[in-house]
C-alpha cells in the first residue's frame, strides 16, 4: 500500500515537473488529507493547521524543481512539511513574545466581525492614549483592535498596503503603551 502510493506520488511529481497539470492536480489533491493528518499530529494550535497545509502546498509548488526522481518522494515531502510546521511554531512564538499586551491594559479583543464605527467603549486611560496618537496610527489601531477589522480589510479601508498598516498599528500600540506607562508613573509619584 505504502510502496504503491509512494510510486504513484513519485510518478505524478515527475509528470508535474514536466508540466502535466492533470498529474499535478491528482498529486496535490491526494496530498491534502495526508498533510492534514501530518500537521495535526505535530501542531498544538489546531486552528493554524489548515494554514500550514496551504503553506506546505505552496512550498511544494515553489520547490518542485528540488525533487529528483531517483530519491523517494515521501522524505522530500516530509522535509518540506516539517519545515512548514517549524516555521509556523516559530512565527507563533515570535508573535506571542512581541505582541503588546494591550489586553492587560484594558483593550478589548478584536471582535469576530467588524462593528459599527462607534465601536465598543474604551477606558478613559485608553481613550486618552488613543487620541494622543498621530491620525494614521490611531486609525490603524481603531480599525484593527477596536472595530475588529482584519488587516486586509483595514488596509483596504484606509487605502494602504497591509505591511504599512501593520507597521502603523504596531507603532501605535507602542506609543499607547508608553503613554499609559508615563501616566501611571506620574500618578504613582504624586
Amino acid at each position: 500500500m505504502g510502496d504503491e502510493r509512494e510510486a504513484r506520488w513519485r510518478d505524478w511529481m515527475i509528470a508535474a515537473q514536466a508540466g502535466e497539470s492533470p498529474a499535478y492536480e491528482k498529486l496535490l489533491s491526494e496530498l491534502i488529507p495526508y498533510l492534514r493528518r501530518f500537521v495535526r499530529r505535530r501542531l498544538l494550535n489546531a486552528a493554524a493547521a489548515e494554514d500550514v497545509v496551504q503553506n506546505i502546498l505552496i512550498s511544494i509548488h515553489r520547490a518542485r524543481a528540488s525533487y529528483r526522481a531517483e530519491r523517494r518522494f515521501t522524505p522530500w515531502l516530509h522535509a518540506i512539511a516539517r519545515n512548514a510546521v517549524i516555521d509556523q511554531t516559530r512565527q507563533h512564538a515570535r508573535r506571542s513574545r512581541r505582541e503588546v499586551s494591550l489586553e492587560a491594559d484594558g483593550v478589548p479583543e478584536p471582535s469576530s466581525g467588524p462593528e459599527e464605527p462607534s465601536g465598543p467603549r474604551l477606558s478613559p486611560e485608553l481613550e486618552g492614549a488613543l487620541s494622543a496618537l498621530p491620525d494614521a496610527q490611531r486609525q490603524a489601531v481603531e480599525l484593527i483592535h477596536v472595530h475588529g477589522y482584519s488587516i486586509a480589510e483595514a488596509a483596504e479601508r484606509v487605502g494602504a498596503t497591509k505591511a504599512a498598516l501593520k507597521v502603523r498599528a504596531h507603532r501605535g500600540y507602542r506609543a499607547m503603551r508608553a503613554h499609559i506607562e508615563a501616566l501611571r508613573f506620574e500618578e504613582s509619584n504624586g
Binding site: A18, G19, Q54, R62, A65, S66, R68, R71, H78, N83
Partner: protein, 224 residues
C-alpha cells in the same frame, strides 16, 4: 456546495504550473563549485603568475602548512556541501554532516593558526600581507559563491542566514586553500589572519549579501 480554500489553492497552483528541470545532485553541484574555483585560480594564476606551489618539497616539509591545508580543504568542502544540501528537502542529514565538517575544519585551522601565532614573532611585521591574502581568497571565492547561491535559489532554502554564512565560508575556504598553497609569506599571525580565518571572515561579512542574493534569485512568492 462551498469549496474550501485549500482546494481552491490547489486549483490555482495547478493553473500556475510550468515545466521545471530538476536541480542537479548535491555531489554534482559540489563538484561544479570546486571546478569553478579551480578555474578561478587558473585564471588569476594566468594573469598574476602566482600558482599553487604544491609541487615544491618545501611546502610539504612544513607540518603546520600541511595541517592548515587539510583543515581548509575539510572546512571548504564541508561548508559547500552543507550549503548546497540544505536547499534540497530530505538531504538534511548530509547538510548537517557538511556543517559539522566545516566547523571541525575551521576549528582545526584556527587551532594551528593560533599555535603558529603563539611562536612569539612580532605581530606588526607579520601582519603585513595578510590583508592581501584575505582579499585574494575572497576574490577567488566569487564564482563559487554565486554558483552556490544559484543552486540554493532553485531549491528550497530554509535557514537563510546560517546557510548563506556556510556558502560564504565554503566559497572563501576554497579560495583560501589556493592562496595558502601559493603564499610564500612566513609567520604565524599571517597564517592565522590571512589564511585560517578567511572562512570565518567571509561568513561574517558575506552572509547577508548572499542570503539577499538567494532571495532575489528565488522564484517569486506565490500570491495567495
Amino acid at each position: 456546495m462551498k469549496r474550501r480554500p485549500t482546494e481552491e489553492l490547489v486549483e490555482r497552483l495547478v493553473g500556475d504550473l510550468s515545466p521545471v528541470a530538476p536541480i542537479a545532485r548535491v555531489s554534482v553541484a559540489a563538484s561544479a563549485v570546486v571546478a569553478l574555483s579551480v578555474a578561478a585560480v587558473a585564471a588569476t594564476g594566468w594573469i598574476t603568475g602566482e600558482w599553487p606551489r604544491l609541487d615544491e618539497a618545501a611546502f610539504w616539509s612544513d607540518a603546520i602548512a600541511v595541517a592548515v591545508l587539510l583543515g581548509l580543504a575539510v572546512a571548504a568542502l564541508g561548508a559547500v556541501v552543507g550549503a548546497l544540501a540544505s536547499a534540497v528537502p530530505g538531504r538534511e542529514p548530509l547538510a548537517r554532516a557538511g556543517r559539522i565538517g566545516a566547523g571541525l575544519g575551521v576549528s582545526w585551522c584556527i587551532g594551528w593558526g593560533l599555535w603558529a601565532a603563539a611562536a612569539g614573532e612580532p605581530a606588526a611585521q607579520l601582519l603585513a600581507g595578510s590583508a592581501n591574502c584575505l582579499l585574494h581568497a575572497l576574490v577567488l571565492a566569487i564564482p563559487a559563491a554565486l554558483a552556490i547561491c544559484f543552486y540554493r535559489a532553485r531549491g528550497a532554502p530554509q535557514r537563510r542566514w546560517l546557510d548563506a554564512a556556510f556558502a560564504a565560508a565554503g566559497a572563501a575556504g576554497l579560495g583560501a586553500l589556493a592562496v595558502h598553497a601559493s603564499c610564500s609569506v612566513a609567520g604565524g599571525f599571517h597564517l592565522l589572519i590571512g589564511h585560517c580565518a578567511t572562512p570565518v571572515v567571509a561568513a561574517l561579512a558575506f552572509a547577508w549579501p548572499l542570503a539577499a542574493l538567494v532571495h532575489r534569485w528565488s522564484p517569486p512568492a506565490f500570491e495567495t
